[in-house]
């Protein structure tokens, strides 16, 4: 109950914008006493919200906290599905791990797990993802798409497109995609996306998209081995970026692109992906477990597979680390 009331209260403030809302109006809308309204507003204040209270006028929200919190992510979230079931924790070992547990316990599509800090963030093949400081976005989104199993890798390209668009809308920064879904600024890694699927026979049970975004890190926040290859949105923008805004815009873009995909298939996603992709038409090196291939990237096929024109003909790349140039 508590969190529902809080959610409704934030929604009210969100709709009111700069206007005052009377205590009576809030208590009517929430169906609780004015004393309870006051208590909830006190709790918001404790989270860092600045709420102005004026006699006879009511309450007005002046400032949101810079700190990430459940309320902060809900405040102004315009999606219908994505992120509406929200699980927020200040600290988690890994959002991906928590999302797995929730997915196994019937969490609905659109469930989002967010942590301010991760103590054991990970990338693919259990590689460590540096996410200990509370200055990035670490989140995992649960999907339950009714699509053929072999099509699911397309969702990783869709996620990359949604993240690029969300970052542009939230922070006005242009980012690039490196096949299949690394997101770079000036060639340095800014976002990593890890997608994991559980399936039975030919049916998808759940797809969990883990997204790690370097938002407010400054050069010295990265460990030495990452300093030359990683960057953050803040470094590109030259100012601090509101993390909740980044999450909200990405979720909204994701919801739109996911709807496009479910209605029209992969083609609209493919066109967008190619418009953001780095190195199409130029030479690149693809390191795979079966050797390294060098050639001109022709683009992706209708499944999202990278087509590389090598001396031995066109090579289809399903899994690789890509080096541009």
């Amino acid at each position: 109950m508590r969190s529902t009331l809080r959610k409704d209260l934030i929604e009210l403030f969100s709709q009111a914008g700069n206007e005052f809302i009377s205590g009576q109006k809030i208590s009517d809308a929430l169906g609780c006493s004015r004393t309870a309204v006051w208590k909830h507003i006190e709790e918001l204040r404790k989270e860092g919200y600045e709420v102005e209270a004026v006699r006879r006028k009511g309450y007005r929200l002046i400032k949101k906290p810079g700190k990430l919190s459940e309320s902060e992510i809900r405040f102004g979230l315009k999606t219908e599905v994505m992120g509406q079931h929200l699980i927020y924790h200040d600290v988690l070992s890994s959002t991906q791990k928590t999302a797995h547990e929730l997915a196994n316990n019937n969490a609905p599509e659109g469930t989002l797990v967010v942590a301010d800090k991760q103590t054991a963030g990970r990338g693919r093949m259990s590689r460590v993802w540096h996410s200990q400081e509370g200055n990035g976005v670490w989140m995992s989104l649960i999907l339950r798409p009714d699509i053929p199993l072999q099509k699911t890798p397309q969702l990783t390209l869709l996620a990359a497109v949604a993240v690029v668009q969300g970052i542009e809308e939230a922070a006005g920064i242009q980012t690039d995609i490196k096949w299949p879904n690394d997101i770079l600024i000036n060639g340095k890694k800014t976002v990593g996306i890890l997608t994991e699927m559980q399936a039975e026979e030919d049916r998808v049970r759940s797809v969990i998209i883990g997204i790690g975004i370097n938002v407010n890190q400054q050069p010295n926040d990265f460990p030495d081995e990452l300093k030359d290859i990683a960057t953050s949105l803040s470094q590109a923008a030259g100012e601090k970026i509101d993390r909740a805004g980044v999450i909200q815009h990405i979720l909204l873009c994701f919801e739109k692109r996911y709807r496009d995909y479910m209605t029209h298939g992969f083609t609209p996603i493919k066109l967008l992906w190619e418009s953001y992709a780095l190195g199409i038409g130029t030479n690149m090196r693809a390191r795979t477990l079966n050797g390294t291939f060098y050639g001109k990237a022709l683009g992706i096929d209708d499944e999202g597979v990278l087509l590389l024109e090598t001396n031995e003909g066109i090579k289809k790349i399903y899994s690789a680390d890509i080096e541009l140039g």
Binding site: R124, M125, P153, N181, L289, Y318, S319
Partner: protein
């Protein structure tokens, strides 16, 4: 037992040679390679455990692949072996990370929900479950190998 790579090399060597028939026996494994009059290679491998999925090198396709088909069909004692197949095209990973040991090996007991491997494409990692209770008899592919849709990955003796 010979691995697929060694068999490929043997086929290639025999294909390029004037040898008509080649028989190899070791520790209960017998491999017989025989050329037809047309000059193609026939692959027959009979192992006590299970047949290796022999993919003929391109030089002898497609006749050799057809000839290989009988070898893929399990001998009588293997009829109730369950095949775990790949649901998509991608890279086969036997373990969760390069440092970790494989999820399963021959002899591992599994149940329906045991994760046996990962198949990955475009950085989507698909955890493949056994979907049958029993014992892994053979791992048919190697770590890092690109697998096709429907390709058998494991043979399981179902309980």
């Amino acid at each position: 037992m010979l691995n697929i790579k060694e068999i490929h090399e043997l086929i290639k060597a025999i294909d390029e040679s004037t040898i008509d028939e080649f028989v190899y026996e070791n520790e209960g494994v017998s491999l017989k390679l025989k050329k037809h009059e047309a000059g193609t290679v026939q692959v027959m491998q009979q192992a006590p455990a299970a047949p290796v999925q022999a993919q003929a090198p391109q030089a002898v396709q497609p006749q050799a692949q057809q000839a290989a088909a009988p070898a893929q069909e399990a001998p009588k004692q293997d009829e109730n072996l369950h095949k775990i197949t790949s649901p998509m095209v991608g890279t086969f990973y036997a373990s969760s990370s390069p440092e970790a040991g494989p999820y399963v090996t021959a002899g591992s007991k599994v149940n329906e929900n045991t994760v046996v491997c990962i198949v990955e494409a475009m950085k989507l990692f698909n955890e493949i479950e056994a979907e049958v209770k029993g014992e892994i008899v053979e791992v048919l592919v190697e770590n890092g190998q690109l697998v096709e849709y429907g390709q058998p990955l494991f043979l399981v003796k179902a309980e």
